[in-house]
Every structure is written in C-alpha cells, then in structure tokens.
C-alpha cells in the first residue's frame, strides 16, 4: 500500500508528475511529483507559500490556475492522464475537496446541506415544460441518502437540525459527507480539517478519515499539526518553496524530522545582520496578558507577552494561527479582551484613538483595505492620521483651520526621499502605486506619528526583493535612531530572523514559545507544528517563556 516509489504502482489512484507552475515571473511550484494509492492517507505539509494550495488548486482545476496560464506536468487518475478545465470536471472525475472555510447554508438542515443542488426529486410531467427544477423534492430519500453518507463517516448527528445551531465539528462532518455522497468520489482532499475543531472533535474526525480510507478512498490530508499527521497518515510529502523536499512513510520519520524539512534553508542568509542584544534589563514597553481577539480567520485565544523598550520583536506562525490578530486586537481594530499595559499605563481596548494617542502606531497587513485611502494623494495618506490626532498639517484661520497642503507636501517629500517611494510626485493617488510603494506610504504614515511603539504586520507581503530590503532597513533605522520599539508580524520566518531580536511563535491562538532570532530553525518549525522545544533553546530574556511553552 505504501512505498517510497509509487510511480509504477499499478494500484496508484492518483498521481502528479513533474508539476510546475508560475504566476507571472514568480515560480511557485517546481517539478513536484507524488502519488496517492487507494485507501492511502497522504499528508501534505509545508510552510505558508510552500505551494500546497497552488498544488491542490491544480488538482481541482480551479479557474485561478487556468486564467494565469495553466501548469506544466501531468496528473493521472487511475493511471489515465487527466487535465481538468474546471472544478466541475474534477468533481465528475471523482475528486472531492473540503476547503478550510465552511461552505454551508446556515438556515438549511444538515440533510439539505449534504445534498445541496444534488437533491433527489419526484419527477413529474411538468418537467418537460418547465425543466427539471419544477420537480418536487423527494424528502424521504434525501434523509436516507444523507444518513448513508454520514454512516459511512461513522458519525451520528441530528441531520434535521439547522446548521446554524450545530457545533463546529458537525459542520466539518457535513462538508465531508457532502463529498462522500457523490458516488464517484474516490479521492478526497481535506484542507486543515482539524484547525477549527476542539481536541475531542478532532479525534472523532481522524477516526472518520481512517474509516473512509479503509473503504478504499484515497485521501490527501493537509495539516500543520504534525502530531495528527504522524498519527493518521501513511505517508508524508513535504513542500518547501515550491519543491518537494521529502516524501517518506510516516513510520520512518519523526515530528522533529518533518519540521526540520519544512523550515530548513540551504544557506543561512543575512547571518551578519542578526543582532544578539540582550534586552532583559530594559524596561517593559508593552505588557499583554490573557489577550483574546475575535478576528475572523486569525483568532487569538490567550496571549501573554512582555515586549521590552527599543527591541524589535517578531510574531511568527503559520497563516490562520492568530499572529495577525494580536496587533489588530491591541490597536482596537478587532473586538478584543484581556489586559494590555503600555509603559505601566492601562491601554483601553477597542478604542483605536486612545491607542494612537498613547503613542502606538500600526501598519496593517491589509494595505488597500485598512492602510490607505486609495483615491487620495500620497501626501494626504502620509499626513492624514497625524493631522487627525496631533493637529499637524493644519493652517489656522480665525475660526477654523484648513488643510495645509504645503506642509503635507514637505512631509511627504521627506519620506519619498528617505524610503525611495517611486511615484510621479506627492500628489499622485495612492491607488496608482505599486504594492511595495504603497507599503512604504503606510510606513511613512506611521513614522509621521513619531510613535513610541509601532506594530508592522506583514511588511514585505507581495512586494519585490529590492523594496523588501528597503522596508526592513527603514524599520531597523527607525528602531536604532529614534529608539522606537517595533513589533513585526510576518509569515516569512527568515525575514523575522534577520530583523528581530526575539521572536514569539504563535500557534492556535496562543504563544507556543519565544525564541531568540539566533535559535536553530528546527526549533521554530517545531513550535509552529504544535510541538515543544527543550527549555535550553528558549530565549535569553527568560522569564516570559517557560509558562507559555506548548499548548
């Protein structure tokens, strides 16, 4: 059933061979091959951006792939070469996919959702006049079919309850049952199916997946929880930077080894910039206790952090684990609770104005959504928040004050020069800039506030290499020259390690551990996979760490 070389296995159900894909000039997948046999559960693991979702989108014939020029390489199903032009074709061929976000209708019952748009009907004569949709639904058969699908999963739930009243675990089962009900489904792709589940629910789900595999289904299981991977899967495929770096039976490997494969780098880049500076004596700038944040897709459950004055602190973790929720919650942009102190002063939550007034600033990861007024000029974008909060850039008349365009321009020119913002001038609209330059405008906006502490989320997401270095250098410079404390949130571990002093790894809404930037990569990989790291590897700034290590 399992084997290191599956390419010639006649029992192979599904096979990718030499899959490569580029979006424009960026290569996201290079020559990836792997196979899934009948009854086999294959884990697909890797960091964000390793190429997992692109690979799955290719297997599922998503339009996003076809619209961007397709892919090279070949897919085989039952040994026959296949190429899907749309998800519909993939479904008809027998590939089922359960996405990370639920795709259920809340006001429908479980049965109605399982059979959505595949309802059995009682055919009538009207059909020939008005088409098939005029037939009445066959309710008893719907219940029967839904029941069958659920029993194949080996779970019992009240299929007549409305989905909106179901616990989250049941929703996941409905999603899977929907794929099972398609009689053709032979390969099932599950994208982080346990991410939203409590531990007890997750173990029921794993049991159900085993049962499905025993019935002969092939399963691709995508998860960051390596322990689950070890427990459930026959084989694990590790992707890194678009390459397959390992494919091995799980019984021949360990969590530690997989984690090492995930994060390993061939050459340690930018080593010289890693600053080993001890801040344990510095006063606490920001203290966070029991923070929770309700940010959809980036929920924070319980975070405790002590950030020292003048340090550059990193927040690492996989997408969806909550690292982005922390700054958004502290700055009042998402509903939050818990206690946050800034230089000993209690910071009111859910009040952005108070945070800004206290001397915090935030560069959001959502540049176009939160960071910019796209239809306004660069100079207005840079000066806007300072104008609103600190009454800068205003020209006073007797009774009122209007915008001082000259002062705005002067300020903008300074940053255009310092950050090398490529634009036609300070009056160009922010919406017309490239991603990298928009990011620089967002940074300039924060710098103009002259904050004591600034949060920067995903500073280099979607920008080119040259701009990346510039942005990171600007952060370093402001940190050194003005003594600004900086908290950087990023999915790029390497980038954090090159710029930060300490890095907290966030996993499942909690701090999995805090490491010095110089800690070995494997340790970061382990923390991201829900594993623990031995105490001696933890940060020199010790006190904050041991209590929170592990989940």
């Amino acid at each position: 059933m399992t084997g290191d070389d599956m390419t010639d296995d006649p029992g192979g159900l599904f096979r990718c061979e030499g899959i490569s894909k580029a979006f424009g000039d960026t290569r996201v997948l290079t020559d990836v091959s792997f196979s899934v046999g009948r009854g086999e559960v294959v884990a697909l693991v890797g960091e964000n951006g390793a190429g997992k979702s692109t690979l799955m989108n290719i297997c599922f014939g998503m339009p996003s792939i076809i619209e961007t020029g397709g892919y090279s390489g070949q897919l085989y199903l039952d040994g026959q070469p296949v190429r899907f032009g749309s998800p519909k074709e993939a479904l008809e061929a027998g590939i089922g996919m359960v996405h990370q976000e639920f795709s259920l209708i809340p006001g429908f019952t479980g049965t109605e959702n399982i059979l959505l748009n595949r309802e059995p009907v009682n055919r009538s004569l009207l059909e020939s006049v008005f088409g098939g949709r005029i037939n009445a639904l066959d309710r008893p058969r719907m219940e029967e079919r839904a029941g069958t699908a659920l029993s194949k999963l080996g779970v019992t739930l009240d299929q007549q309850t409305h989905v909106s009243q179901m616990p989250v675990g049941n929703k996941q089962f409905l999603e899977i049952a929907r794929e099972i009900d398609r009689s053709r489904t032979r390969l099932l792709v599950l994208d982080e199916p346990t991410a939203v589940l409590a531990e007890s629910e997750a173990s029921i789900l794993l049991e159900a997946i085993r049962k499905l595999a025993a019935d002969g289904l092939g399963i691709i299981f995508i998860s960051h929880r390596l322990r689950e991977v070890m427990e459930l899967c026959h084989k694990v495929v590790v992707l890194r930077d678009g390459h397959k770096v390992a494919e091995m039976p799980t019984r021949e490997t360990s969590v530690r080894q997989i984690a090492a494969f995930m994060v390993h780098r061939d050459k340690e880049e930018a080593e010289e910039q890693r600053v080993a500076k001890d801040f344990s004596a510095a006063p606490t700038a920001l203290s966070v206790r029991h923070l929770w944040v309700d940010m959809p897709g980036e929920r924070v459950d319980d975070v405790n952090l002590e950030i020292r004055e003048n340090e550059i602190f990193g927040l690492a973790g996989l997408a969806g684990q909550g690292k982005l929720g922390i700054p958004a919650g502290i700055m009042g942009l998402k509903p939050a609770g818990g206690e946050v102190d800034f230089y000993g002063q209690k910071l009111p939550l859910n009040d952005p104005r108070a945070c800004l007034a206290a001397g915090l600033a935030f560069v959001s990861e959502d540049r176009r959504g939160v960071g910019l007024l796209l239809a306004e000029s660069i100079q207005m974008n840079i000066g806007f928040t300072a104008m609103q909060l600190q009454k800068q850039f205003l020209k006073n008349y007797f009774l009122f004050a209007t915008v001082d365009e000259a002062a705005l321009e002067k300020n903008a020119l300074k940053y255009i020069d310092e950050l090398a913002i490529k634009c036609s001038g300070p009056l160009q609209k922010a919406g017309h800039l490239s991603g990298g330059n928009q990011q620089k405008v967002c940074l300039a906006k924060a710098f103009t506030l002259a904050p004591r502490l600034m949060f920067v989320s995903e500073p280099t997401r979607g920008i080119d290499v040259g701009a990346k270095a510039l942005v990171l250098n600007a952060l370093r410079r402001y940190n050194q020259e003005l003594g600004t404390t900086v908290v950087v949130t990023s999915s790029e571990l390497e980038e954090l390690r090159s710029v930060c002093h300490r890095i907290a790894v966030i996993n499942e809404g909690r701090v999995a551990g805090i490491l010095p930037a110089s800690a070995p990569l494997e340790h970061f990989g382990l923390l991201m996979s829900g594993e623990e790291v031995e105490p001696e590897a933890s940060a020199p700034c010790g006190e904050a760490v041991p209590a929170e290590v592990g989940a």
Binding site: L373, F384, T402, V403
Partner: protein, 381 residues
C-alpha cells in the same frame, strides 16, 4: 484619438448624451419660435433655485451614507422655519434670515435623529431613507392640519384652522435674492460702466462680434438671478471649505474607507451623524431658497418626491453612490434643470399638443439613478 477617448471617459457618456441633447434643444429653440434669451434665463433661474437642494446630497455621499433620499426631512425643517417666520409677520431680509435660522435649527435636530437611525441600519440606508422621508412627509400632513398657526396668509380661509396647500410668499420675501450684478456694484462703478465708451471697438472688430459681446456682457450684468446664483455659489464655497478642514477630511475618509478611518482614531458613527445633519440642514436652506424664488411654499404631499430630481441631478453631474465633488453638483444641476426648462418650451411647441416633458423627466431622472445603482457593484469590486 486617444485624447478624445480620455475626454469622453472623464466626462462620462450620460453627461455627453444629455449635454448634446440640451445643446440641440438650445439650437432648435429659435426655429420653433422660442426666444433663446428667455430659455437661458429660465435655465439660470432654475439652476439657482434648485442648486442648494442638490448640494444637500454632498455630505451624505461623502461620508458613505449613499444618496440622500431622505431630503424631505430637511425640507420639512425648512418649511417649519418659513411658517414660523411668516407667522411672526417678518418681511424682507429679516423674515428670510429668521426662516433660515429657524429652518437650520429644526433641520439640525431632525437630521441628528435621522443620522442615529441610519447608523442603526448601515448598508440599507437608501431604502430606509426613502421611506423615512415619505413617512415623515405623511406625518407632517397631519401636523399641518393641526398646528395652531394663526396668520391669515397661511390658514385655510374656511374653517379657520389648518394650513393651506400653497402659501404665497409674495407679501413676505419673494425674489428677495433677485438682483443683478449691476445692482450689487457700488454706484460709482455702475455709472462708470454705464458711461463706458466702447465705440472704438466697432472700429477694430467686426460689428456682429461686438454686438454679440455687448449683449452677453449686458446679460451677465443685468440678469436678475445673479443674486441667487451668488448665494448658491457661497453655499458651495462653504461646503468646499468644510471639506478642507480636519473634520471634513475625517468625514471624507469615513466614506472612502471606514476601516482606514477607524484605524486613524476617527469615530465612524459620529462622522456619519454629522454628515446627515449637514445634508439635512442644506436641504432646509435649499427649500427656503426655492420658496423665495418660486414665490410659494407647498405643503402636504408636495415634498414627497422632491428628493428624486436632486438625486438625479447630482448623479447626472458625474457623482456616484460613493463619490461626489462640488463640480458634479454644478454640472448636474445645470444639465438637469436645463432640460426641464427647455423641453416644455421647445418640444411641446415643436410637437403641438404633446406634453412629453413630464415623461422625459421621469425617464431621464430615474434612468440616471438606476444607472448609478447598477454601476456601484462593479466599482466596489
């Protein structure tokens, strides 16, 4: 070729079509026996008369509350101001200013409540605004019947209680803002201009051109509606100035991107309420200007549909559900009122006995609104 394309794109097809239509009306006018100068005068008067009500769209669109279909609320505030001013038997400027002052206060109060309501229903503002406007008009119909006004100018002659449907402003302040530029000039300057000898121009330029230029200059200086136009211009300037202040910029940001505004420490809800108050106040000022020019105040169901021409005009001027500038108000009011002024005179005298102008108004104004509403989804994405 490209520059023409660009020009068309900046101006937008609806404006070009309507603009050409209006231009052709002006050109056809003399052929069917309509005097051009009368048509232009009509257009200008209507422009000044309706302009402020169109301007009342601006704050709410800017803050993202959408098109102000709730304009009747501001109109009610303005009418209350007028009625009280008339009841006090104030005549001339004092009456006008009292009406304005009271109208603004009532409208601010109504707008405040209306703004809070709209904050409760974010996303559904336009439909609710329409029906809040409608139901408040219907509610005021009952109030007009019951309010204890006494002035003989306003109360129904039979029965002695309840307000008339149409109240004439003739004895109070009709055409108060009507004055020409010449009237506004100091006497010395006026006499200087009137004695100006331009005979030398005839020697160096073709006679026809000079005569034409003289008639244009005379028109500009003698046009009685200029006073009202200046008042409208002043209101536009005030609104423009407001959007140059810190609060105005904050309101702008709320409309463009509420998340950005929140992240900059701005209270989105407060800004929205403020914008609704401003729009409602402008609506009150608008109806007062309208009444002084039109000469009548119409009560009962008359304000019901007053929002629609104003909404259509601002959209015609180039505004969208989430984007507006003062220039849209100016262009839109001119085009829309131009068509309303010209179609009855031109089309009806060309096609004898066909009152097609009302039908055209319905089609143009509502077609314009539908165009804007269906365009929105595309812009958002």
């Amino acid at each position: 070729m490209n520059s023409i394309k660009n020009m068309i794109e900046t101006a937008g097809w609806p404006r070009i079509i309507i603009g050409l239509f209006l231009l052709s009306l002006f050109m056809v006018a003399p052929l069917v026996g309509v005097k051009v100068s009368t048509s232009i005068h009509d257009t200008i008067v209507r422009f000044g008369r309706n302009g402020v009500m169109v301007l009342a769209m601006v704050p709410m669109i800017r803050s993202g509350c959408g098109l102000n279909f709730g304009l009747p609320l501001g109109i009610i505030g303005g009418i209350l101001g007028i009625l009280i001013s008339v009841e006090m038997e104030l005549v001339g400027m004092s009456g006008f200013l009292t009406a304005l002052g009271l109208g603004v206060v009532f409208a601010a109060f109504l707008g405040w409540g209306y703004g809070i309501l709209l904050n409760m229903v974010k996303g559904d503002e336009m439909m609710i605004a329409t029906y809040v406007g409608f139901s408040s008009v219907a509610f005021m119909c009952m109030a007009w019947l019951l309010m204890p006004f006494k002035s003989a100018a306003m109360v129904l002659s039979y029965g002695g209680s309840g307000l008339r449907t149409t109240i004439s402003m003739d004895d109070f302040w009709t055409d108060l803002l009507s004055c020409s530029l010449l009237d506004m000039l100091p006497d010395a300057a006026a006499s200087f201009f009137s004695q100006l000898d331009i005979s030398f121009l005839y020697k160096i330029l073709p006679d026809g051109l000079v005569a034409w230029a003289v008639s244009v200059v005379q028109f500009i200086f003698l046009e009685q509606a200029m006073g009202m136009i200046l008042f409208f211009g002043f209101m536009c300037f005030l609104v423009w100035l407001f959007f140059r202040t810190k609060v105005g910029q904050a309101m702008n940001a709320v409309g463009q991107n509420p998340d950005f505004a929140r992240a900059s420490g701005i209270s989105v809800d407060k800004m929205r309420v403020l914008s609704v108050v401003l729009s409602t106040v402008l609506g009150a000022v608008g109806i007062i200007v309208y009444a002084q020019s039109y000469g009548f105040v119409q009560l009962y169901l008359a304000p019901l549909y007053m929002a629609f021409p104003a909404v259509a005009a601002v959209l015609l001027g180039g505004a969208a559900v989430g984007r507006v500038a003062i220039v849209h108000v100016l262009v839109g009011t001119f085009l829309f009122q131009g068509i309303l002024a010209m179609t009855p005179s031109v089309i009806n005298s060309a096609l004898k006995g066909l009152d097609i102008s009302e039908v055209l108004r319905l089609i143009i104004s509502n077609g314009m609104i539908i165009y804007a509403l269906t365009r929105r989804t595309k812009e958002v994405r």
